[in-house]
């Protein structure tokens, strides 16, 4: 056999999966030999191989399944997640970097601070791109379904009929950013309880909490924040209010508020020095905390009531609207 043919076949099958190589090589070799005939001179061999196209192209014909990192089916979801995680990580990194300038003693001037902020944001966003891409490439490789919204009659009817039931994307993303920052804040407070304090020039700071005691409660709060985070993601994916979603969201809000009240009314957590700084007795402090808790609860209830109104009241209106001729 002509050496050129052997090399052409070898190059072609090198682009194929290991298990197919021997078979394809044997077939292809036989076919090419038939094409060039018995007494083939170099010119004929060259022409035949040129006509067959480049080994890469021929190999891709044998493979047939197009190769890609993130396919067209997944691309929309990929872009959405990339933007979403990008926005969150961008905001959180920026806020934390700027906060770090105030919380730690540094001798950076304003330009160095700006440069450092840009560098942190850039490095964080590079990480986001890398990891989101890797995760989606793996999902795509294993053909995991990433179509978040189901397409059925219900989804069809919900398209334009009740825009008031839509959950604004920006709202959910804002929630996610806020919750991320809050979570990191809790993590900082967890490791350095004394960071929440009254700072005075030339005097020792007065922490709000008794160091150490608050720690387990912070941990609980971090869990609840993660829960809220999960609900916010669910809201973002669903994109519109449904009754179960409303239930989950309201339950999560209420758990958060009641947990806050539970922790805030643990009077032994407060540093007595902190309370006396404002010239308050414990009883006055208790009244303030209780009033604040009540106000918080009322605000949460109002917000839940507003969501309930959106889901139930508007649904009924829209149902009558969508029935033609009624």
């Amino acid at each position: 056999m002509h050496d050129l043919i052997r090399r052409y076949v070898g190059e072609t099958v090198s682009h194929l999966a290991m298990k197919d190589r021997d078979d394809v090589a044997r077939e292809l070799e036989a076919n090419i030999l038939d094409m060039v005939g018995d007494e083939a001179d170099l010119e004929v061999v060259e022409k035949t191989l040129l006509d067959l196209g480049s080994p890469q192209k021929l190999a891709s014909q044998y493979r047939k399944e197009p190769r890609y990192l993130i396919g067209p089916e997944t691309f929309d979801s990929y872009l959405m997640v990339l933007k979403l995680v990008g926005v969150i990580v961008f905001s959180v990194t920026l806020v934390l970097t700027i906060l770090s300038f105030f919380l730690t003693v540094s001798d950076l001037n304003i330009y160095e601070m700006i440069a450092k902020s840009i560098a942190s944001v850039f490095s964080a966003l590079t990480g986001v791109f890398l990891w989101v891409t890797i995760i989606f490439a793996v999902l795509d490789y294993y053909q995991v379904k990433t179509d978040f919204q189901e397409w059925n009659v219900e989804a069809l009817r919900n398209l334009e009929a009740n825009p008031t039931r839509l959950i604004k994307k920006s709202e959910s993303i804002g929630d996610l950013v806020g919750l991320s920052i809050f979570f990191l804040f809790l993590a900082i407070v967890y490791s350095r309880n004394e960071v929440v304090a009254i700072y005075q020039v030339g005097r020792e700071s007065i922490p709000l909490f008794v160091t150490g005691l608050i720690r387990p409660y912070i941990l609980g709060w971090m869990v609840i924040t993660l829960l809220s985070f999960a609900v916010a993601i669910l809201k973002l994916l669903k994109g519109r209010w449904t009754k179960p979603l409303l239930g989950i969201s309201a339950a999560c809000d209420l758990i958060g508020v009641f947990y806050f009240i539970f922790v805030a009314t643990k009077w032994q957590l407060y540093n007595p020095q902190f309370i006396s700084f404002f010239n308050l007795g414990l009883s006055r402090w208790q009244i303030i905390v209780r009033a604040a808790s009540a106000a918080l609860l009322i605000l949460t209830l109002i917000s839940i009531a507003d969501d309930v109104y959106t889901v139930f009241k508007r649904t009924r209106q829209n149902e009558s609207e969508t029935t033609p001729g009624s």
């Binding site: 078979d23 394809v24 044997r26 077939e27 292809l28 036989a30 076919n31 030999l33 038939d34 094409m35 018995d38 006509d51 067959l52 196209g53 192209k57 021929l58 014909q61 044998y62 047939k64």
Partner: protein
């Protein structure tokens, strides 16, 4: 896009489906790769070798074709023919083609007479 390019794309798309039918139709008797290519060329059906060979392999993997190596000649050759499953599929595909072709032809003639 240039007119030629658009036309070329349409023709490619049109061919893509019909080529399978042509290959199946030619494999009611045993053929090896190159003989099949020549046979199709004789009928004026231009199918590139680099399309045909991978196609044969795919059809074999799908169980539409069965193959056997003939090593009695000076060169070994792989012969392909329709499997039972392939015969059944070919019959149905042919019917599909006939119906489709009838409808399309009638549509085209109608348009012509209006034109």
């Amino acid at each position: 896009m240039e007119e030629d390019q658009i036309l070329y794309n349409f023709v490619t798309e049109l061919n893509r489906g019909t080529m399978t039918l042509c290959v199946l139709a030619s494999l009611t008797t045993k053929q090896y790769g190159y003989s099949l290519l020549q046979r199709l060329a004789e009928k004026g059906i231009e199918l590139e070798a680099n399309t045909l060979y991978p196609m044969l392999r795919r059809l074999e993997n799908q169980g539409v074709l069965v193959s056997s190596w003939d090593t009695s000649e000076s060169r070994p050759r792989k012969f392909y023919t329709l499997s039972d499953k392939g015969k059944a599929i070919f019959t149905l595909l042919k019917e599909q083609w006939d119906t489709q072709q009838m409808r399309i032809t009638s549509l085209l003639r109608e348009e012509e007479s209006h034109a």
